[in-house]
């Protein structure tokens, strides 16, 4: 099996599985219980929180565990919108955000908020100066992702953060789901107030993530109840998953650098092979340093991405069309459209995404398979072949 859909989800690392299993077996208390077993579970959560805070470069109270990236994004955006509605009613975001940001903004628009969706260039990047152009006296929040999930473009977070430092009343949220533990982002240097992270994108457990929330920033909670997570996110702690998440972060830190170097070489290698042996395809995004090396998006105009995904799956190769959440709808990708791709290109795009466990053999075998499959499909679909 060749699994190259790591931006959708990753296989949990063995060490993570061991930790989760061991905690489920042995740490049985509810961290909110007063007695000793509760105390033990709470200490484990605290220790995990410390580990995570160290990697983020923040205080422990700035880490709020959530059920994952979608909840973190919802909590950040709705939480700010509700808590600071007296400051204004304007949000700036990009046209290429993940649905858990984009749709939240749409929802807020129905509630009377104004949202500016920034355009992107051909490589899928927002321009920092465009952020500044959109700022009004009513702007409360800027929400820009770090790495785009469909094409891997890296957004100028540092630049945007620097310019936002001049606007003290505007909060800055970064959806770092696709980048965390892979491409470093210093929340302090970049002036980030809120950052969303999800565990299963870097070989951690599903259903766990966290929101970094800078000290002093208020949020209206989505979930109220027992007052866990400093009152910002009630609900019994998922102790095992939290421990697994911390374990995954520690593991990722060990593997990160080598992974980035490997994946950069592989991405180049794949493009080279395709250029040699395939025709009628385009690269979405770029090969530059402004693109995550572990995500590669290519379009085969005239082919349907869905057909290509199935054809590859038949050969035991797994990749995605668009992002996993929306793959089932046949609509040209909003993100590729924002990058001024044609409908044909947008409908025929697949995403190849690598994980820490991807091997060189996976990459070369995948290249062979794709080079075999695509021309056949292009022939059937009467796409001009050479």
């Amino acid at each position: 099996m060749i699994y190259l859909d790591n931006s959708a989800t990753t296989r949990a690392h063995d060490g993570v599985i061991d930790v989760v299993q061991d905690v489920m077996r042995n740490v049985i208390g509810n961290p909110s219980s007063l007695h000793g077993l509760g105390g033990q579970a709470e200490r484990l959560v605290t220790q995990a929180r410390e580990v995570i805070a160290r990697f983020v470069g923040c205080d422990t109270q700035e880490v709020l565990f959530t059920s994952g990236g979608t909840e973190a994004n919802n909590l950040a955006i709705k939480g700010i919108a509700k808590a600071y509605q007296n400051r204004g009613n304007h949000i700036i975001t990009s046209s290429i955000e993940h649905p858990s940001v984009f749709e939240v903004c749409k929802q807020l628009e129905n509630e009377g908020w104004k949202v500016s969706y920034l355009p992107v260039d051909q490589t899928g990047r927002v321009r920092a100066q465009d952020v500044e152009k959109e700022i009004t006296k009513d702007t409360v929040l800027v929400s820009i992702m770090h790495v785009n999930n469909e094409v891997g473009s890296i957004q100028p977070i540092h630049e945007i953060g620097q310019l936002l430092k001049r606007y003290h009343k505007i909060f800055f949220h970064v959806d770092a789901v696709q980048s965390f533990s892979k491409i470093p982002l210093s929340v302090t240097e970049c002036g980030v107030d809120l950052m969303s992270v999800s565990g299963h994108k870097f070989h951690g457990p599903n259903g766990i993530g966290f929101l970094y929330k800078r000290r002093g920033v208020m949020l209206d909670p989505l979930l109220t109840g027992g007052g866990q997570e400093f009152g910002f996110r009630s609900g019994t702690h998922d102790v095992a998953s939290i421990a697994g998440l911390a374990r995954a972060i520690v593991q990722a830190e060990k593997e990160r650098k080598a992974f980035l170097m490997r994946s950069r070489t592989w991405k180049e290698m794949l493009i080279d092979r395709f250029r040699q042996d395939l025709s009628h395809f385009t690269l979405n995004g770029s090969l530059s340093a402004c693109s995550a090396p572990y995500i590669l998006s290519i379009s085969f105009p005239g082919l349907k991405a869905e057909v290509l995904v199935h054809a590859l799956a038949k050969r035991d190769c797994y990749v995605s069309s668009k992002s996993a959440c929306s793959s089932k709808l046949e609509m040209p990708s909003r993100i590729l459209k924002a990058m001024k791709k044609t409908d044909q290109e947008a409908l025929g795009s697949i995403r190849i995404s690598m994980g820490f466990d991807t091997t060189e053999q996976d990459i070369s075998m995948f290249a062979e398979t794709l080079i075999d499959v695509v021309p056949q499909l292009q022939h059937v679909m009467k796409v001009y072949t050479k």
Partner: protein
């Protein structure tokens, strides 16, 4: 040839006459202890200066972080040690400036020729180095009054040191240079701050905590251990005595006037603390009392309570407002732990109307109803001793 180091300023220690050597050694030991997990670090004294030297440039920031929690340091500056040679000095000064441009716009050179055999005089060296720097950074300006950066050059025999601005340290005296004390650690906001301030004056800290299980939970005890752990950042190692206090509290509750329960309880605590202090060769008790803050901290109360011991009781926060205490507690990282809402021995049997001006005779009469000697003996014997080190050991080895 060139060596990364940190040059330490020890301020107050220099005043301490013949004891200076002991203080310095204590300080150096404390620094070594702090950096014991880093390799390639040495702490040494040459020509009246204390230096931390290290090979790996990446260690600079971690070492600075550690030094920021060492009492006895007024300041320190990252420095480079080079052979005493004018061209070498020029190059090194240039490198120092390069690291700090563009934040730095004005500078001056302050040379000190400790070794008078060096052929270039200080003034001349200032001019020469200043000129050299201006040549390479024409945008810079010399400002002899309030420069952004002072380029210090110290010629000390074979070697010279080049360093920039001082990073402020936390001052105080080296921990361990002033003798041992016993801190009454409750789990509130004040007592950890009192412990911190005592440490700042160079004491070696032990702590005592009164634990009334099941009226106070294991969480309350854990909280106190966590606080002690946080204090080890400044105090290296803290021994904590956890005194079983349940029976004493229930006895007081049963036999004494409710309004005197706090007074009697505090008197008993002091007696036990004195016993433990004596057994540990501690020379004073430390409390987090702040005058007038609560019923037991009025002057009348202090008189009545203090009467049971002849030991000096240090009250470092006595003159501080709650606000000031909270500020320190936030800075030293104990605040968040202190405000965790667990019952402690002072809140669990809290009387509705405690006496703010307790009378000594009444207090004694109330106490007479208790089998004091037995209760205190049993509490002392039953005391659990827990050693808290500044090691970052972890309960779970999952990550």
């Amino acid at each position: 040839m060139r060596k990364n180091c940190l040059l330490l300023r020890i301020g107050e220690l220099a005043l301490k006459g013949k004891n200076k050597r002991d203080f310095e050694h204590q300080l150096m030991d404390n620094i070594k202890n702090k950096c014991k997990n880093m390799t390639g670090i040495s702490v040494l004294k040459t020509e009246g200066r204390i230096f931390v030297e290290f090979d790996d440039q990446d260690l600079l920031d971690p070492v600075i972080e550690e030094l920021k929690t060492v009492f006895g340091l007024v300041g320190f500056a990252p420095a480079l040690r080079v052979p005493s040679d004018v061209e070498m000095l020029e190059e090194t000064a240039l490198e120092l400036v390069r690291q700090q441009v563009p934040e730095v716009k004005t500078f001056k050179v302050a040379s000190k020729r400790v070794d008078k055999r060096f052929p270039v005089r200080s003034q001349e060296l200032n001019h020469r180095l200043g000129g050299y720097l201006l040549q390479h950074y024409p945008g810079l300006k010399v400002d002899v009054h309030q420069p952004d950066l002072i380029v210090h050059v110290e010629i000390r025999g074979k070697h010279s040191y080049v360093y920039g601005n001082d990073i402020p340290g936390i001052g105080g005296l080296p921990v361990g240079s002033s003798g041992r004390v016993l801190l009454l650690l409750s789990g509130g906001i004040d007592s950890p701050v009192a412990g911190y301030l005592a440490l700042k004056r160079g004491v070696e800290l032990q702590a005592i905590h009164f634990h009334s299980y099941p009226y106070t939970s294991e969480r309350a005890k854990q909280k106190v251990l966590d606080l002690a752990k946080q204090l080890t950042t400044y105090g290296n190692h803290i021994r904590i005595h956890v005194v079983p206090f349940t029976e004493i509290q229930t006895e007081i509750n049963k036999h004494c006037f409710e309004s005197y329960s706090i007074t009697v309880m505090r008197r008993i605590m002091l007696r036990i603390a004195e016993r433990i202090a004596q057994s540990q060769n501690a020379l004073a008790l430390v409390t987090g009392e702040s005058l007038g803050q609560v019923a037991s901290q009025t002057l009348e109360s202090m008189n009545t309570i203090n009467e049971v011991t002849h030991m000096p009781i240090l009250r470092p926060v006595i003159g501080m407002d709650k606000h000031d205490i909270m500020e320190i507690s936030r800075r030293i990282g104990t605040y968040e732990t202190s405000i965790l809402p667990y019952e402690d021995c002072c809140t669990v049997f809290l009387p509705k109307a405690p006496k703010t001006k307790p009378d000594l005779h009444v207090a004694k009469k109330q106490e007479a109803k208790l089998d004091l000697e037995r209760l205190i003996d049993e509490a002392v014997i039953g005391t659990e001793v827990i050693e808290i080190s500044n090691e970052k050991e972890r309960e779970f080895s999952y990550f």
